[in-house]
């Protein structure tokens, strides 16, 4: 797998505010790479530097071996862009936008088919201002795909959408990947990153904190696992405490919370239940998520 985007030590300041500093990462061909962090962490600044819309103060960026600032017009042929909080003219129709964008590239995808695939076929004559939030974002995805790009940039694609529209957009993003394209996206929604991204870079206060696959990040930073079960077996508590990977057992009436570390915890609890024929009426596990990873390594919640 070769890397498509390579970012090395970039920094960007606005006046005395340092938006991003020493940001480095690689995006590999065919993956969905997510830059995740709270609002104001520097996600958009980083992405817009890669897109060639901003010039970093220092550091180097290469996309397909091109310099995004110097070779911006060559690069535009090979990338598709969706910008955060962008709008179109209020009274431009969906088809006019698609047609204009298609006319700007020497080779363009079939706009009609794109609109069909994105569920906008019946909206082709609608004005931009009359579209719902989800429809606008789908149009922006269509515009990002119109030149058949190798890399697609998606900046906070589902912000402001309701859960239903959000899920629909997620399916579309997976569809982009299935067509063999590389996706570089930003989001402050950890669930979104977890469901979509092959790898994520966590960014906080302008710096990259860690980069890996979501499960690897969870395993590295939050190895804790929790099993919650309900049993009336009187001897259960001492049996649970005897398990090697268990750190703590708390109990409220018949409900037990068993905390431990490592992937083996769940297996060992189940083995214990079966070995000692402990009858349980409820059993579930709690696994940490990216959200917990973020809290752990930055010391604050992503929602702050």
């Amino acid at each position: 797998m070769s890397s498509v985007i390579s970012v090395a030590g970039i920094r960007k300041a606005y006046g005395s505010t340092i938006a991003i500093d020493d940001v480095s990462f690689d995006v590999v061909e065919g993956e969905i790479f997510g830059l995740i962090g709270p609002n104001g962490a520097g996600k958009t600044t980083t992405m817009e530097c890669v897109e060639g819309l901003r010039t970093p103060d220092r550091g180097a960026i290469s996309v397909f071996g091109l310099d995004p600032v110097r070779d911006v017009y060559a690069l535009q042929q090979r990338v598709g862009v969706q910008l955060q909080e962008a709008q179109l003219q209020k009274r431009i129709t969906v088809w006019e936008a698609v047609d204009l964008w298609a006319s700007l590239y020497p080779k363009s995808a079939d706009g009609r088919r794109l609109l069909e695939q994105l569920g906008l076929a019946d909206k082709r004559d609608a004005w931009f201002m009359t579209l719902s939030g989800g429809q606008k974002q789908r149009l922006f995805i269509a515009l990002a795909l119109i030149n058949n790009p190798d890399v697609v940039f998606l900046d906070e694609l589902t912000t402001g959408l309701d859960p239903h529209a959000r899920r629909a957009i997620w399916d579309l993003v997976r569809g982009i990947k299935d067509r063999g394209k590389t996706v570089f996206m930003t989001t402050h929604l950890m669930e979104e990153a977890e469901r979509l991204c092959d790898r994520v870079a966590i960014i906080d206060r302008g710096r990259i904190v860690d980069i890996d696959t979501p499960p690897a990040l969870v395993a590295r930073h939050c190895p804790e696992r929790t099993v919650l079960l309900t049993t009336v077996d009187a001897g259960a508590e001492s049996r649970f405490r005897a398990i090697r990977t268990v750190d703590a057992v708390t109990r409220a009436d018949a409900r037990y919370t068993i905390r431990g570390r490592g992937d083996d915890l769940v297996t060992e609890v189940i083995r214990c239940l079966s070995d000692h024929r402990i009858h349980v009426t409820d059993f579930r596990t709690e696994t940490p998520h990216l959200e917990d990873v973020f809290l752990k390594i930055t010391g604050h919640s992503i929602r702050d």
């Binding site: 535009q76 910008l83 962008a86 709008q87 006319s103 700007l104």
Partner: protein, 250 residues
């Protein structure tokens, strides 16, 4: 070649979009000729033996119409550029193979086309109302108007580059335009102004536009107005350069 095709495509699209906004369409294209019709009716009842009135109708009125239409174009250029900036439309267009100059030229072209259409409508409306024989070289006047409009639009562009939001655009535009209008020699001849004010009037680009338009309308030779043309071209170059330097996409 490519850029020209893009320019035409974008200009045509912007014209279509403009035509979909009823208020803008009425305000820009229909209100001025309607005003001429109404004013014409009023003036038409006054005996045209008055030499001052005849001069007004034959000389001042056409130049008035031209200048006001141009200033209207400046105002709406400033407004539309700031709305596009605020809405992220400029930024979105910039992240395409469209060159920045194509995006901005399309806006200027739209304003030029609308200005020309408005003026043609005014002339058509005026012809039926005010019956004053005019021997005007229309082509010359159009060229003079083009110089003036481009020059004044370049001022609008600088305002559009500097003004942060659409809400500021309108008042700032008016703040620049109205004082210019009063000092430009349109209402009061520049020579009749107090000395100090005359100096200000001489640095206002609009003064040269008024002088050129009046002169050409009255049949002056272009050579007599070489200074005006030079001033207008210099202003256009200077202000376009400044706005290119200070232009903000977002």
């Amino acid at each position: 070649m490519m850029a020209l095709r893009h320019l035409w495509k974008l200009t045509w699209l912007e014209l279509k979009i403009f035509a979909r906004e009823p208020l803008g369409l009425i305000g820009t294209l229909l209100a001025p000729p309607l005003t001429v019709v109404v004013l014409g009716r009023i003036f038409g009842r006054i005996p045209t033996t008055s030499p001052r009135l005849t001069t007004f109708v034959a000389v001042d009125l056409p130049v008035f119409a031209a200048i006001f239409t141009t200033l209207n174009a400046v105002q709406s250029l400033v407004t539309i550029v700031s709305i596009y900036r605020e809405g992220g439309i400029l930024k979105r267009l910039r992240a395409t193979p469209l060159r920045p100059q194509t995006i901005l030229s399309a806006q200027v072209l739209v304003k030029l086309i609308l200005t020309a259409t408005t003026l043609v409508l005014i002339v058509l409306a005026g012809r039926n109302v005010i019956r004053v024989r005019l021997d005007v070289h229309l082509l010359s006047f159009s060229v003079a108007l083009l110089f003036s409009t481009l020059s004044i639009l370049s001022i609008g562009f600088l305002i559009a580059s500097l003004v942060p939001t659409a809400r500021f655009a309108q008042p700032v535009g008016s703040f620049v335009i109205y004082p210019m209008l009063f000092l430009s020699g349109l209402f009061v001849p520049v020579d009749a102004l107090p000395n100090g004010v005359q100096i200000i009037a001489r640095v206002i680009p609009l003064t040269y536009a008024v002088s050129l338009l009046k002169g050409i309308w009255l049949g002056d030779a272009w050579l007599a107005h070489a200074g005006d043309v030079a001033a207008l071209v210099a202003v256009a170059i200077l202000f376009t350069g400044l706005s290119a330097r200070f232009f903000r996409w977002e």
